[in-house]
Amino acid sequence: MTEEIIISGFGGQGVLSMGKILAYSALMEGKEVSWMPAYGPEQRGGTANVTVIVSDERISSPIVSTYDTAIILNQPSLEKFEGSIKPGGTLIYDDYGISVPPTRKDINIYQISAMDAAAEMGNTKGFNMIILGGLLKVRPIVTLENVIKGLHKTLPERHHHLIPANEEALRKGMDIICIAQEAK
């Protein structure tokens, strides 16, 4: 199994942290992982993306041309990465940031209203965990249990009391993700 994932959105949405938690969770399962950020003078509102690769085998390039799964959190990211998803691959997007929806017919498209759900839960910072939950529902790359372990690893100890809220957000994402289109 090798899953090549791009997560892309605005800086401040938790794109890089989501990738990091996913990578650590996969590490907990004994998988090979790589996490390659598009780094730069990043700031809230700028663009941010990260390539996460999870595999049973040694990973060659941390930089790839096409992706099995794309998580798209704003319009510029959709325009940039929709064309790079492998045929039969997966696109997950939050409709909150998307004004022109995806047009590919040969990929599975899922929609998740994470921004709205986060606001309803009164936990806007849980946005990225809702998305991650959604991802794990449709692409069970790692178990929820190992994500919780990953959170313990990535979060500094003073934030460990927030882990139950994150777990709630992950479960919420698993509940609310829905299919918008099956690949033809």
Binding site: K20, A23, L27, E32, V33, S34, W35, M36, P37, Y39, G40, P41, I59, S60, S61, P62, I63, V64, S65, T66
Partner: protein, 358 residues
């Protein structure tokens, strides 16, 4: 863990006595991690943010001159500033480690990844006839492993060693097994292993002078001949490289550092299409694996030097091949990292591999 963080942890674990550096993207996590780990409270390793790169390299010159395992790290324009100090260290035969996490140039350039400092690292950059020993890690694991290796080689030959990394290997996060703890050397051990070091003279031993200056031409010629002799020994003993699927290769890609990772992905894609391509990855850029490339050039139809620059290592590849087979270069500049697909297209075009052009 990020490649940069691995460097910092490996330094603490391999008995490094001091780090002197100045922050610059994309390697600032090295100083940042060292500051967070506070090794001065545990191993006694000094960590100092110097006022500039020029100051950092001269602190290395001083520390190395006293036989201490000291290092600095920077990125391309910062390493450009250090060249004078590096030449002085080479001349005075002072060991030390310089880590360059490369970004695009020339000048301030960009903060995005590049391999544009191949010439700077392997051809000098400072003045005079000298080399530094250059190791090129292509994974976070090698970032960790090469710190101790670089120090070992640097002290063995009394030559500055460089880890030539880049923004990709510095920033990427991968699985890593950190090396076991090794204590810092005691003063007695330093005296024994570095009888040349200026450690504060006690008793009757001759005065040790650390200098690269010698005004008598005959003496200076002798010193230079000694350095050249040493470089010859290093060339004979310390060439390191990795080969992947070269046994039956019809075409060869030569690539180092992050480019070698991208090449591996391209090669597995190419092999699935029935094109037999192999990879030679120089681990030491100086000394360069000239002989092995020479041998492989007898076997393959063409060699592509794949670098994230305008074509620098390709000169060493051509010197090794001496016209025995066609040699091409593919790379990108400006902080753009080529994808495996782009490399495949370049290979197809350069060597007219029709199976790939359909």
């Amino acid at each position: 863990m990020k490649g940069n963080e691995a460097i910092a942890h490996a330094a603490i674990r391999c008995g490094c006595d001091g780090y002197f550096g100045y922050p610059i993207t994309p390697q600032s996590e090295i100083l940042e991690t060292l500051a967070a780990e506070k090794p001065w409270e545990t191993t006694g390793m000094v960590v100092l943010q110097a006022e500039s790169e020029v100051a950092s390299i001269n602190m290395i010159y001083g520390g190395g001159g006293a036989g201490k395992r000291v290092m600095t790290s920077s990125s391309s324009p910062g390493v450009a500033l250090m060249q004078e100090g590096i030449a002085y260290m080479a001349g005075a035969e002072v060991p030390g480690l310089i880590v360059n996490v490369q970004r695009g140039g020339p000048g301030l350039g960009t903060i995005q990844p590049s391999q544009g400092d191949y010439f700077q690292a392997t051809r000098g950059g400072g003045n005079g006839d000298y080399y530094v020993l250059v190791l090129a890690p292509s994974s976070v694991q090698e970032m960790a492993d090469f710190v101790d290796l670089a120090f070992e080689l640097s002290f063995k030959y009394r030559i500055p060693a460089m880890i030539l990394s880049d923004g990709v290997v510095g920033q990427v996060m991968e699985k890593v097994v950190l090396p076991p703890f090794k204590p810092r050397r005691t003063e007695e051990e330093i005296l024994r292993e570095c009888p040349w070091a200026s450690t504060g003279r006690k008793g009757n031993r001759p005065i040790n002078v650390i200098t690269s200056l010698e005004l008598k031409p005959e003496a200076m010629e002798k010193h230079n001949l000694h350095l050249q002799e040493k470089y010859k020994t290093i060339r004979a003993n310390e060439v390191r490289y990795e080969e992947i699927q070269t046994e039956d290769a019809e075409y060869l890609i030569v690539a180092f550092g992050s480019a070698a990772r991208i090449a591996q992905k391209a090669i597995s894609d190419l092999r699935s299409k029935g094109i037999r391509v192999g990879l030679l990855r120089p681990i030491t850029l100086w000394p360069f694996p000239t002989e092995r490339i020479q041998q492989l050039s007898e076997q393959v139809k063409g060699i592509l030097s794949f670098e994230i620059n305008a074509g620098q290592m390709v000169e060493d590849v051509r010197l090794a091949v001496e016209g025995r087979c066609p040699v091409a270069h593919y790379g990108k500049m400006g902080g753009i990292v080529p994808t495996p697909d782009e490399l495949i297209q370049a290979l197809a075009k350069d060597f007219q591999i029709n199976a790939l052009n359909s």
